[in-house]
Symmetry: C2
Subunit: 113 residues, 2 copies
């Protein structure tokens, strides 16, 4: 079963801004909770960052959990599964499914940006 075109487009739209890509990278690199630190890391206004977080949350890519005075944002990679499946389905059968470094995400290398 494949997701509908608008759904896929909506997921892709959530990733279609450099700031949002960076937010996802920050969340991936941060083991615990992260809140307003995102604002400092991005160099954008707090309201702008909040808007990006809202878009990501609306797409289901991240989850926001209230943790006292802050908010614990966490990745929800399962939400991107339909998009990943769609991209994978475009690959020809003989094509490479997985880049080498993507196949083993258990630990990261220092060559990470």
């Amino acid at each position: 079963m494949q997701a509908t075109d608008p759904t896929l487009a909506d997921l892709a739209r959530a990733l279609s801004h450099p700031a949002r890509v960076r937010i996802l990278r920050l969340l991936q690199a941060t083991p615990g909770c992260i809140g307003g630190d995102i604002v400092g890391a991005l160099g954008l206004a707090q309201s702008t960052v909040s808007e990006h977080l809202r878009i990501l949350k609306a797409a289901g890519v991240i989850t926001g959990e209230i943790a006292g005075p802050r908010i614990c944002y966490a990745l929800n990679p399962a939400a991107l599964a339909p998009l990943a499946a769609f991209i994978a389905a475009l690959e020809p059968a003989d094509g490479p499914c997985c880049l080498p470094q993507a196949c083993a995400p258990s630990h990261r290398k220092s060559s990470e940006s």
Copy 2:
């Protein structure tokens, strides 16, 4: 090696419209060349479809090859590899990114929304 944030955002932007997702699906389902048939299938104006094709071509997702009076559009899935790798890298370490049979598009979890 990971692509830069703007590059990933640009790839995602190419997929961030239902019409473009549908175009990719059509190209995938069409074994041979396809030209103005896309216009009929999408129900949009010819100029609009041409613009979407131009965007997809600019992103490198498709290639246009002149074949006589028509144009042969073909998928170029390799262009989406950085985006696929990025999505795969977001997966938490708890889940394997790419088991041999998981390389098929059926790569999803039960927590699907």
